[in-house]
Amino acid sequence: MRCEQIQEQLLTEYLDEQISAEQKHVIDLHLNGCRACQEFYQAVVQAAVNPLKNSELYEAPSVIWDAVEQRIIHEDVSVIDLLRNWCVEFGNRLILPVPALGITMVIVFSLLGLMVFQSSNQRMARQAQEEPVEYLVSMIDDITAVDTNGGYGTDIEEYFL
């Protein structure tokens, strides 16, 4: 193997021990007889291995879990999430795909809304028909009301007459 190929392996698989025993043996043999590659390998170790080798593994500060716990306990579940979760669960029970269930619900709510609208319209139509009749009845009652004053109109007119 050429030095260029060996040095590429020294930077990667050989250094990280991601190499077969056989390949390692080939590279070790080359290193034993090649000063340039030996120096190259030393430079790799000094620059990219030793300084990082004993980098400290820190404990996660306790404030992290405290904050995570607060956020997940007080997480606000939006109405949309609630509705979505309910649809998914309901759909799973009916073995319906969620989009089909969603469409079904839209149709159901639309029909309900239409029924409510129509009954409200009918009530208003009835009311509209009945109101003029009631008004006319009240007018007729006024016109045909019995005059208890003997045809003389009001009490004052009766006094003077």
Binding site: D16, Q46, A48, N50, P51, N54, E56, L57, E59, P61
Partner: protein
């Protein structure tokens, strides 16, 4: 790579906070250190790690057991950390508040002479030389000792790309060392 049991995950999916806390206790330290080395700042790392675990909690029902749980969790952590680091680079021009200590290189034989602060300062400065994608590969290799295959799974890339990023990262660190040693002479 540590493993999280199926039973624990299922409990946490049902919003059992205690079960999720157990998951946090198993994985939190590793996630925090991965995030710390990618964002290269302790305060930012706390914030990002919080966001990562809240995201994991919310997305638990999407975990489909096709990979290890830690692979999936690390993926969320690395993506969040890389996105944070890139956003910070766009807003601050890449400035990261690092220790004032100069970088210290030491031979293996003299390593014990470096103080904790010197070692930490060196690690920070070295990782800061690398673009985020190369940094992520180096972090997963050095912090959690993941294999190339595991790194590829976490990052959603192929093994050749892992190999290529590690190679370029190490070449960059070698060049940086030459520059540092050159200035000291």
């Amino acid at each position: 790579m540590i493993d999280v049991s199926h039973t624990l995950i299922e409990k946490a999916v049902q919003k059992d906070v205690q079960a999720f806390q157990e998951i946090y206790e198993l994985t939190g330290k590793y996630v925090y250190n991965i995030v710390l080395r990618i964002v290269n700042n302790a305060h930012d790392a706390q914030e990002v790690t919080q966001d990562v675990f809240v995201a994991i909690y919310k997305k638990l029902d999407q975990f489909n057991y096709q990979s290890k749980f830690t692979t999936w969790a690390y993926r969320i952590a690395v993506n969040s950390a890389i996105n944070f680091a890139k956003r910070r680079t766009r807003t601050t021009g890449g400035h990261v508040s690092l220790s004032r200590q100069a970088i210290q290189y030491a031979d293996v034989s003299s390593e014990p002479e470096l103080t904790r602060e010197e070692r930490e300062s060196t690690v920070q400065r070295l990782f800061n030389q690398l673009p985020e994608e190369q940094r992520a590969c180096m972090v997963l290799r050095t912090v959690d000792q993941l294999s190339y295959e595991e790194i590829a799974d976490v990052l959603g890339i192929n093994m050749n790309t892992v190999r290529s990023r590690l190679k370029r990262a190490r070449e960059k660190l070698m060049q940086y060392r030459k520059e540092v040693i050159g200035h000291e002479v």
